[in-house]
Amino acid sequence: MAAFEYRQAQEIRDCFQRHGVRYLFLGKSGAILLGFPDTTQDADVFVEKTPENCAALVLALRELGFALSEAQAAEVERGKDFIQLKNGPFDLDLVLAPDGIERFSDAWRRRVEVEGFPVCHIDDIIASKAATNRQKDRESLPRLRSFREYWMRQRKS
């Protein structure tokens, strides 16, 4: 599996839009979209957990080339909280109940659009990483918080 590419992010954006999937880029991939210079391996998307949205998500994932069996598609449609996909053209984590963010609607209201990509606000990305409290997140948080300061200043100016 090669590294995730900009072209593939565009494919997610365009395909999810065609199918009406409500989602937000989250995690470090979201921060990178906002301008955070760092490295990561996977793209994480926060998907709204409704039956209609999860059904649309299955159609979109299959169109993108993810080889979902009927049983796997049923798990996506049921809206399981965390799904790891490594059966498609790129790796993708589907997060339906991220730590640190109570409701999708709240994150959606605070979202930022970057070249048509819907992205969680930096505060939600930080809150999610802080709540997860993993070693790898704890190491990246000081730099992410500094980036937040920079990013907020840029938005004000």
Binding site: I32, T40, N133
Partner: protein, 84 residues
Amino acid sequence: MDAHELKESRVGYRAVEETAIPPEWLAEFEAAARRPLETRFRYAFIHTHKPVMDDVPFRAFDTTADYRRWCEENLPDWLGYGRV
């Protein structure tokens, strides 16, 4: 709990503390802001094989807590997925 976590626990989701940005990080943020998004992607996304994690094509967890627990019980510590 450090000062940032304490602040976050008081204000909910927001990380609002004003902090000074280390000069070397500021230089990196400014350099990144000058790059097109496509270039930022090329610099940001890497791929290495993560043992166990990458060994099956599909996993689904009923709850995020189940996923966190699975990571702690199954992944090597050095991957950093364990909770602090």
